[in-house]
Amino acid sequence: MIEFRRVHKSFGDNEILKGIDVEIKDGETFAVLGPTGIGKSVMLKCVVGLVRPERGSVTVDGENVVKVPEKDMPRIRLKVGMVFQQPTLFDSMSVKSNVVYGLRRHKKLSRAELDDEVAEVLGLVGLDPSISEKMPQHLSFGEQKRVGLARTLALRPRYLLYDEPTTGLDPLTAESINELIATLAAKLGVTSIVVTHDIRCVEVVADRVGLIHDGTLLHVQKPDTFFDDPSPVLRDFLYGEAAE
């Protein structure tokens, strides 16, 4: 379980998070909706210690990661995989080397075992293992995003954090990524947090959803009731800003 309690974070004079409170249950896919630049990614980065909140706690399996020193963070990060907004592949390495980058440094595996792992995780994200020798620049943006996800999955995390998974993708590819997130959650039983401004993504993947507004998380509920919520803030985002 991942739990945010009164999480505050500022950058200079700009207070981005003003008391985030939410609990993400095991096996659940939780979506955080909100416009760009509102602090959604900051919230995710607090879970893996890339950003340290000034106040409040973020607990993963009961352990407050805010208090875990940087040298001990790898223990948390092996449990919590993060998929970044951009594919962030190492462009001097092949797909295979990217996928096993973390794995080969944490586990002593033979070449054959590594090949099997690559084939398995590429299969999980819907890619043909034959692309494993290709360089990232020879893949489409959607394929690069899938390879980034495969690299995270190779470490078999219990939790998956997705930062704007459908940003920059055409509607068809975005839909396939949404379906992939939902499939992985069902198949692997991982707990996921998806931050997005894509309403379709919420509809496809989320068990629950909340809206970030003015540094706090509002209207946390199931998607079917969320989209019918009469709150002016929510309706303004869903049918005002989001439609722009």
């Binding site: 790898p74 990060r77 970044f84 951009q86 962030t88 973390g102 690299r151």
Partner: protein
């Protein structure tokens, strides 16, 4: 003025702190030997031709510059010794290190800086790995070792360049040039070149890796880091060279006194 002094002190403090964290990461390990070999190929082997050309012309320029005043003084037989000594003790290592700072230093800053602003450094952390161990230490060691080796290579090429220009263009007698060079190049000249190679490598490695890892704000930030890295490296090279020359000169002086007393 106060701000300038504070900035300089912050920069010096930052460099030593960064150097300390590199040493900690190196000691803690695990050591990335394959990455070190790969980075050594990129920063070292691929720089050989550039250093060959730069070193050759450094020697040629020094020979031309010294030939006229020595000829005026009627001391042109000393050309080989003066040129070789100047190349080994000061000008060679300094100019070649500056050349390397421009090529290798900028490459390292741009690479690490781009990895930082495109969140690849964060990816490494999210994979449960320490970026200092996996990204910085192999590059740091590759730069340090290769700047040292390239400085030595460059000095040798500069010596040959000085010899060729002196003999082929300035009409020096090769035997006189060589005899005089051997007479004036003592073990101290070798120590100057070696010690400066070690410290110049340390300067280029520390400044470039640190500036790369401190990069922020996208492509503009990468450009800014490359520019400031080059400025800081060149200033640091001059300062380090001055102190090394002073210290080595004092040690050389004491060694001479000791030798005289022994005799």
């Amino acid at each position: 003025m106060r701000d300038v002094v504070v900035n300089i002190l912050e920069e010096i403090g930052g460099l030593f702190t960064f150097l300390g964290s590199v040493i900690v990461a190196l000691v803690r390990g695990p050591f990335q030997f394959r990455e070190l070999v790969y980075q050594s190929y990129r920063v070292g082997v691929q720089s050989l031709m550039v250093i060959f050309l730069a070193g050759g012309f450094v020697g040629a320029i020094i020979a031309i510059q010294f030939s006229y005043p020595l000829e005026m003084l009627g001391a042109d037989v000393l050309l080989g010794g003066v040129v070789s000594s100047a190349i080994m003790r000061e000008v060679g290592p300094m100019l070649i290190a500056a050349m390397i700072a421009g090529r290798i230093g900028a490459y390292i800053v741009a690479e690490l800086g781009t990895m930082k602003v495109t969140e690849q450094v964060d990816v490494v952390r999210c994979l449960g790995l320490d970026p200092m161990t996996y990204l910085v230490v192999p590059r740091f060691l590759a730069v340090w070792i290769n700047v040292f080796l390239l400085t030595i290579f460059g000095v040798i090429v500069a010596l040959v360049g000085g010899l060729l220009v002196s003999v082929l263009m300035l009409g020096s007698n090769p035997y006189t040039y060589w005899t005089n060079a051997v007479a004036l190049i003592d073990e101290a000249a070798f120590i100057y070149a070696l010690v400066k190679g070690v410290f110049f490598g340390l300067v280029v490695a520390t400044v470039s890796c640190r500036k790369g890892m401190l990069t922020e704000e996208g492509a503009v930030g990468v450009g800014r880091s490359v520019r400031t890295s080059l400025v800081v490296t060149l200033i640091a090279l001059f300062v380090v060279s001055y102190f090394l020359s002073s210290i080595l000169r004092i040690m050389e002086h004491f060694a001479e006194i000791g030798r005289m007393l022994y005799l």
